[in-house]
């Protein structure tokens, strides 16, 4: 049985204000919930019997509050048009930005769309970027939409929020950014340390953040000089850049 209070609690977590107040976020679907369970301890799970089995009902029951629910009950708690069998509440991890000693980090400058943000975190996981720092104006990665778009990548990728000027002013390595007037990504050396800055969907990288960028990259359109759309989606652009950094690294490894 899913109590009215539980439904009310879950639904309230669509709003950042309530998430911050109670320190919880919602995740749905067996894949996303299972991924998150590998890193975080759920405080509550509502699941169809067959999905609870998949997730390991015994293990859950020992450590979390578990309700076996009907599809109708689940639908009342779900944020999805097609609920996916399980809704879980996880504690929002405390994350303070600390500069990693090496490797690539992503710096997100006011990404607004929760779907884009989640998709970026998912790609960061795929390409082994463990640290993502978001400007204070970036969307909240713990909103239901962003969490779903991560597909559970929050289990491995550390996302923190900080003043990007402060973060980048302390950077000792290169700071990459994409610009319409940048240099062809494929024609310049790319390292495996430093920051990759990605900008807002409409405005790109802010002027004050641009000042910290040491390497201006361009993802070339094709064929050159053909009229085309003005830009790529920011999650797409981030992923193309990450793919190229990692392709180079693999090439370098092979060359050794």
């Amino acid at each position: 049985m899913l109590s009215k209070n539980k439904i009310k609690l879950i639904k309230s977590l669509e709003r950042r204000k309530f998430r911050d107040e109670v320190g919880l976020f919602v995740a749905e679907g067996p894949k996303v919930v299972a991924e998150l369970m590998s890193a975080l301890h759920p405080v509550y799970i509502a699941a169809l019997a067959e999905v609870a089995d998949i997730l390991g009902q015994e293990a859950i029951g020992q450590s979390s509050e578990l309700d076996i629910v009907s599809p109708q009950e689940l639908a009342r708690a779900s944020f999805l048009r097609a609920p996916q069998g399980v809704v879980a509440l996880f504690p929002i991890p405390e994350r303070q930005w600390t500069a990693p000693s090496h490797g690539l980090s992503l710096a997100l400058d006011n990404i607004q769309d929760p779907g884009n943000l989640g998709t970026i975190i998912r790609a960061a996981d795929w390409f082994g970027v463990e640290n993502v720092v978001c400007s204070l104006g970036t969307a909240d990665v713990y909103s239901p939409k962003a969490v779903q778009a991560t597909m559970g990548a929050l289990a491995r990728v550390k996302v923190s929020y900080a003043d990007l000027d402060a973060v980048l002013s302390a950077a000792t390595g290169p700071v990459y950014g994409t610009f319409m007037d940048g240099t062809n990504l494929y024609n310049q050396p790319l390292g495996q340390d430093g920051f990759i800055v990605m900008g807002n969907e409409g405005q790109g990288i802010s002027k004050h953040i641009e000042e910290w960028v040491t390497h201006r990259l361009l993802i070339p359109s094709y064929p050159a000089n053909r009229p085309t759309i003005e830009s790529l989606n920011v999650a797409v652009a981030t992923s193309i850049v990450l793919a190229e950094f990692r392709r180079r690294e693999e090439q370098t490894e092979k060359g050794k």
Copy 2:
């Protein structure tokens, strides 16, 4: 003045049934509308005075019905949380799939999310892929959400719907597809003709479509063998594959 009937018409176009009935789709925002106006003739535009000016009020007024509206009126017609100053109605182009004589085409196998679909079309435009053929089960590219995600790329990219088995069975060139057990994209030759098949968000490429695939590609995660998220977002995966095809082509051009 925006009449009640116009608002009703616009709002009805959220549903495919009504779009098909009247043969119209909705686009919003000066960028998207201006892009589409370069290729399609709007039948109706509602815009704030300043946005009508940007779009070229005189040119519009001669050929389309134009209403200069207040922000409050526009908000009633808009599908966006933050309306962008203009809502326009365009005729849905008649597109029958005809196999192009050369070049790369995208074949989309049951892409479900309109945002993903639109983002794929936007990337296709960026990478000069003019022809996209969608399975009959793919989302409708003329839904308001998909149109917004294209950012106007529908002005150049021809999107048609067809039986993918029929389309691919007639293919004379290579048919590429991405699979979890494919061969590293970066370790195999890629041509500049044929089809790239992208599969459904949850299920990947259908079994019956897989049979037509001649080249199985994998986008490698990094570092190899590290635990990671199960897959990339489909619009992200499509874009990484397209970027790599075009990077190779540019390399080949340079080598000549």
